[in-house]
């Protein structure tokens, strides 16, 4: 919980960072022989130019937002979950198999079961590093990174091995889930499906949990000072594990939403490091839920736009990564730069005041000020 003034400062420096990053992006375009105006024009066009593209942008933003919130809840509890990618894969795989195995059941029942399974499997997969951390004090950053590889490799094996589609037309991955089971599209032809409503519910729930509840407060305090949490009578370990399970559950659910939303079947490339983009959004916004929601739309916009920019103007989609990285870099340096500037300003002021005072000019007023 920061004061309003700090928030304001943060937002200002964020806007400046974004502006600088876009400017550097423009310079890069110019240097490589493209017109920046044309480039950014194509990007905007590619993000919102048609209903289909707008749908894709919204879908991408929702993904980033959910994954960002997943990072945030873990981080608030003092566990930095780098393993969302793996949790996402696990959730995606098992929910896909539910759709294939239970295709005879009524549609809504299959979707509900698939949602629950993705949440449970993602949560359980996050439970492993959480327990390793709380019971054996094994660093969660290392275990989650390693568990990512495990999950992706295992999924790759299953979708291309035992659960590989027998159809010749599908070279990689499982069978497609029956069309009647997957989420219906909100905008035809786009990736945006009715899973958006689930995403909205989860987002609101996460905001409420983090900002308005006792558990959110307790998770926060535990993440900041575990010893204090334990000392205050909170179940510190339980809270940490809870925050990690919630994080993993959201990632699992996102996996399910990817498959049931637009991919249709499980492949080894169900997610292309989507979690890490969400994680960076969360880090840029200091794990603030409202900030994550807003910033997700900006990056969702950029990501979708950049793809189109690549296709239409020929500017590499990697430019998006460059801009992303510059913003992160500037935001990381932001605190230091702010402190430095502030310090210089006060030193100057104080020096002036002291010199005047030494001359005996403002003795009385200064005395009052110092009180």
């Amino acid at each position: 919980m920061k004061t309003l003034q700090n928030n304001k400062k943060y937002i200002i420096s964020l806007i400046i960072s974004i502006a600088i990053a876009l400017l550097i992006g423009a310079i890069l375009m110019a240097v490589s022989g493209f017109s920046p105006i044309e480039g950014y024009g194509a990007m905007i066009d590619g993000a919102i130019g048609s209903p289909r593209l707008l749908g894709n942008t919204i879908e991408k933003s929702m993904e980033l937002c959910l994954l960002g919130l997943a990072t945030a809840i873990g981080a608030k509890g003092g566990l930095f979950n780098v393993g969302g990618e793996g949790q996402l894969f696990v959730g995606a795989l098992f929910s896909t198999m539910i759709g294939l195995w239970l295709s005879d059941l009524p549609t809504f029942l299959v979707i509900i079961i698939a949602v629950i399974v993705s949440i449970v499997t993602g949560g359980i997969y996050a439970l492993i590093p959480a327990l390793l951390k709380t019971k054996l004090n094994v660093d969660e950053v290392i275990t989650t990174i390693m568990l990512n590889t495990v999950a992706i490799k295992v999924c790759t094996y299953f979708v291309n091995g035992p659960w590989n589609s027998p159809l010749k037309s599908i070279s990689q991955g499982t069978d497609y889930i029956d069309k009647s089971i997957v989420f219906s599209k909100i905008i035809q032809g786009s990736n945006l499906s009715t899973s958006f409503f689930i995403g909205t519910v989860v987002t609101v729930f996460m905001w409420f949990l983090m900002k308005k509840t006792t558990v959110g407060l307790e998770i926060n305090v535990t993440g900041e000072n575990k010893r204090f949490s334990f000392f205050s009578g909170l179940k510190a370990n339980k809270l940490m594990v809870t925050s990690m399970i919630i994080s993993g559950a959201i990632c699992g659910l996102v996996g399910m939403m990817l498959i049931y939303g637009y991919q249709g079947h499980m492949t080894q490339s169900a997610s292309n490091e989507y979690y890490f983009d969400g994680m960076l959004v969360a880090m840029i916004m200091n794990y603030n839920p409202i900030g994550i929601i807003i910033m997700s739309f900006f990056f969702g916009f950029m990501a979708t736009g950049a793809t189109m920019m690549d296709m239409q103007v020929g500017i590499s989609v990697q430019l998006y990564d460059v801009i992303f990285s510059i913003i992160i870099f500037l935001m990381a340096a932001q605190t230091g730069i702010m402190v430095w500037l502030e310090n210089r300003k006060t030193q100057k002021k104080a020096k002036q005041l002291a010199e005047e005072k030494a001359k005996g000019l403002v003795e009385e007023t200064a005395g009052k000020e110092a009180e």
């Binding site: 919980m1 009578g233 020096k351 002291a354 030494a358 110092a370 009180e371």
Partner: protein
Amino acid sequence: MENKETIIEFKNISMQFPGVLANDNVSFDIKKGEVFALVGENGAGKSTLMNILYGINTPTSGEVIIGGKKVEKYSPSEAISRGIGMVHQHFMLVPSFTVAQNICLSHEPRKSKIFYDLKGAEAATEKLVQEYGLVVDPKAKVESISVGLQQRVEILKTLYRGADVLILDEPTAVLTPQETEELFNVIRRIVKEKDMTVIIITHKLYEVMAISDRVGVMRQGKLVGVNETKDVNEKILASMMVGREVLLDEIERFGEPGETKIEVEDLVVTDNRGIIACNGINLKVREGEILGIAAIEGNGQSELLEAITGMRKPVSGTIFLNNHDTTDMDPGQIRELGLSHIPEDRMTTGVSLQSDITTNLVIGKERTPHFSKWGIALKKSTIHRYAEDLFQRFDMRGAGVDTVVGSLSGGNMQKVVVARELSFDAPILIVAQPTRGVDVGAMEFIHKCIVDKRNDGGAVLLVSADLDEVFRLSDRIITIYEGKVTGEFKAGEISKMDISYYMTGDRSNEEGGTN
């Protein structure tokens, strides 16, 4: 000392930190061969001023003149070369090195310019020991010697580097009365025989009276005044420091204590390294009683409190709190039985530094119906009002209840802890180092809170490294040495000087029969 020459001169020193004017136009001088005491509340700017003299901080404006020459570049190495030596509150020694190695660190004698000359280092140390009469074994490892001796090593280190002005930052905070007396003898000797100058920063006013020639008082970054020590007394100094009259009077003793609230039997507890810290401790605290534990740091008192409060699992023995066996309970369960705890280290245990005051005040109560609906949805405005109320009542100073606790001064931070813990209204209060690093004004306030708790029928267990505090507050005192209870006394039964025999395990003058 009227015609002594000036060795250090502070001229219009101001030091601005972000948000704090730590020194505000401070000017005074220090004469060669005197003991100058610098006193003031926490955050008054004493340490900052000394850090400027030692070159750690560069003043925003003003100048320091050492031996008639103005300081141009502020750095510790420059200060050392000008003969300034500083012993910090927290010692800067390498525990696994010997005394000689520590003393010669960074100025090691060498053989053929390359190899470390350990014999030479030991010889040099021995020479210093002889010269200044600061007896310590050059070959002993620092981790194996007492805090008092470690301090000597620090002093010898500055002497080895050629200091003729010695700055001691709160040197007696970690010492027993005996060790303090020895330190003072050392100071008197080096000043008298070697014509050294000593600047001593301290909280304890009787020490100022005992050791110093002159005393400077600081308040809120300003120098309130410099006096000859013989012209002032403790009361005058205290009111100069706080800016008002301070009533550090005797605390009234209270009627007969009631039933037993804390009972510890044969308690054995290990420390973080797995070494036995409490070795069979027995104690009882009753309602309406403050039991003080007098012990030198590191004799098991910290582990004892951690075991009682559930922060640490005991190896054996039993703990009864409020008539329940709490030996195997965690802090949450123990708190429910009616215990509140002001911990030894507020920074790591007592607060969440990055959370605001409100959060720190409400934590532990957030699930009660008063502060949340069904234990889930926080009632933010109720919580805010509650925090505002405590903020006022405990006289915390800061921008407001939204201030991040980490930015508060030690005294205000401790008030947050005290406010929260007392607001539980628990019958048992465990207090450790309640006023460490806290200024006189806040100390007075916190002492009053503790005594009020006792007067309301609370059972209070107090641990403090500050013997004055233990003597001032306790109705009964026990001493602990190396994890064992070595003595038990009623208030007023024993003097501070005599009790240190029990605190150091020296039982030679014991009349027999304590425990």
